[in-house]
């Protein structure tokens, strides 16, 4: 049985572990050690990290249904906010480094290319999640409304994995694995709702 205290104690370590890759990539980028096409590499790494963190937040919710791991849910907010942090870095790399703030081009790109459309909508949906993440916000909105807003994580995860799936040219194994995990986690939630509706409230 892991207590809330156990999980809370692991937070500082997790914080550094999850933050570290972004610092490393930034350092490698500045010192020219991110390979032959550093902007592409930076964007890919940041995006992949964001997608993995989004999936981890979904997993945490599912894991918290297992009795001894119930308190793991205290880690969810931090990881969710880190997902938003990596999405923001991913998006700013695209806007600033990849396209040098050429807004006309970027808007066209978002509209015309489905994979960018998916990614962009996913990013937009994450904004209300991140901005309502404080305890104060939960109180202000009421838990029911807050929870409804946070159902946005489902379209966020699906769109983000589609964004990755469409981007890959030939070997789609990795995006298919992510999509599979997301679908399983969602099916588990639907199943739980149908069988034990009182618990889902």
């Amino acid at each position: 049985m892991f207590s809330t205290r156990n999980f809370n104690r692991s937070k500082p370590v997790l914080f550094i572990l999850i933050l570290f890759p972004s610092l490393l990539w930034a350092y490698q980028f500045v010192t020219g050690n991110l390979g032959v096409n550093p902007i592409e590499k930076l964007m890919d790494e940041l995006g992949l990290m964001a997608l993995r963190l989004i999936i981890i937040t979904l997993m945490i919710t599912t894991l918290s249904n297992i009795r001894p791991l119930k308190s793991i849910v205290v880690l969810r907010r931090m990881i969710g906010l880190f997902a938003f942090y990596y999405v923001c870095l991913h998006f700013s790399t695209y806007i600033v480094l990849d396209h040098f703030l050429d807004m006309q081009f970027i808007i066209q790109d978002i509209i015309k290319r489905p994979f960018i459309t998916f990614g962009f909508i996913s990013f937009l949906f994450l904004i209300p999640l991140a901005s309502t993440s404080t305890n104060n916000m939960i109180k202000q909105l009421g838990f029911k409304l807050w929870k409804k807003i946070h159902y946005l994580i489902y379209p966020v995860a699906i769109l983000a994995s589609m964004h990755f799936y469409v981007l890959v040219r030939a070997d789609k194994t990795e995006p298919v694995i992510y999509m599979g995990i997301i679908i399983l986690l969602l099916l588990h939630r639907i199943f739980k709702r149908l069988t034990r509706p009182q618990l889902a409230q």
Binding site: V36, N37, I39, H99, K112, R113, P114, D171
Partner: protein, 305 residues
């Protein structure tokens, strides 16, 4: 012709120069351990740079040989460099068949002794919107076509890559339908810009770049420039090609570099030249409009992309 190294080097001189460059590698490495192992490739750049456009700069040997799309060795850009060590490019033969006077198999050495190796510095534009400038050594495909003696009914040329899953780990997985196939219309194949390359920077073609012999068609997206060719077929109908078969809504048979025809995943209006920070405008036919635009004057390039 811009950016076209038109210097003609007889094959023997080319071989000698290659030895010289190899020799200088050893001495360069002995002389200093601080300089990169690739420094020797840049020691005699004047051979390649004198025909460069003022906007273009050669990419380094390291850039050209560590950032590749060659799915036979894996789907990541670094995989071909990391996974191609067991590939054996010699001995090598090329089978010529289809609509030819006499189908036959040529030894690569025999082909090389009958052609003129030239330096050709070309821009390479990938469909993924990045580009490089590469100093190739090779010969005009038209020379091999003459040796093959195609019939007048031959209208297209198809190329096939070697299939050796034991040496090419990427082929153990069906990411695309192996072997890789590509094709050209006969007039595209005969165009003087179209070459079969056997080296770069004065070295034998590295495995990850398509050893021992590959196509280079500089006005088309990089995937047309098929690597490690073992078979060339002459046909009267348009051959099927690997990427077109896999995703026809994305990749066409022609695949001419064209900033005005969009791709669903990448805008083709701009590109990132490897080594540069800001994107640059993509040029029509990758800047070879003067040499090849006449081939397509009756073709709707938005339909035949």
């Amino acid at each position: 012709m811009k950016i076209l190294g038109s210097e003609i080097t007889p094959y023997k001189t080319y071989l000698n120069r290659r030895k010289f460059i190899k020799g200088s590698l050893a001495s360069a490495m002995l002389a200093t351990i601080t300089s990169s192992a690739f420094a020797n490739h840049d020691s005699d750049l004047s051979i390649y740079t004198k025909n460069l456009n003022e906007n273009d700069k050669l990419n380094s040997y390291e850039e050209i040989t560590t950032y590749n799309n060659f799915y036979e060795f894996g789907t990541h850009k670094k995989h071909p460099h990391l996974n191609s060590g067991n590939f054996k490019p010699r001995p090598w033969t090329i089978k010529i068949d289809g609509l030819v006077k006499k189908p036959q198999t040529f030894d690569l050495e025999k082909i090389l002794s009958n052609v003129t190796i030239e330096d050709r510095v070309y821009r390479l534009r990938c469909v993924e919107a990045w580009s490089m400038v590469i100093p190739w050594q090779g010969f005009q495909l038209s020379e091999l076509i003459k040796m093959a003696e195609p019939l007048s009914s031959a209208k297209y040329v198809q190329f096939v890559t070697v299939f050796r899953p034991e040496e090419m780990p990427g082929q153990q997985k069906r990411t695309i339908i192996w072997p890789y196939r590509e094709g050209l219309r006969m007039d595209e194949a005969m165009n003087p810009l179209t070459i079969l390359a056997t080296g770069l920077y004065g070295h034998e073609m590295p495995n990850q770049n398509g050893a021992p012999i590959r196509l280079v068609v500089p006005w088309k997206y990089g995937f047309k420039s098929i690597k490690s060719i073992v078979e060339i077929r002459f046909l009267d109908t348009q051959p099927e090609t690997s990427w077109e078969t896999l995703a026809p809504w994305e990749y066409g048979f022609y695949a001419n570099v064209n900033p005005n025809v969009n791709h669903p995943r990448w805008s083709q209006g701009t590109e990132r030249r490897i080594g540069e920070f800001k994107r640059r405008e993509t040029l029509m036919f990758n800047g070879y409009e003067e040499e090849v635009a006449h081939l397509y004057k009756d073709l709707d390039l938005t339909k035949f992309y």
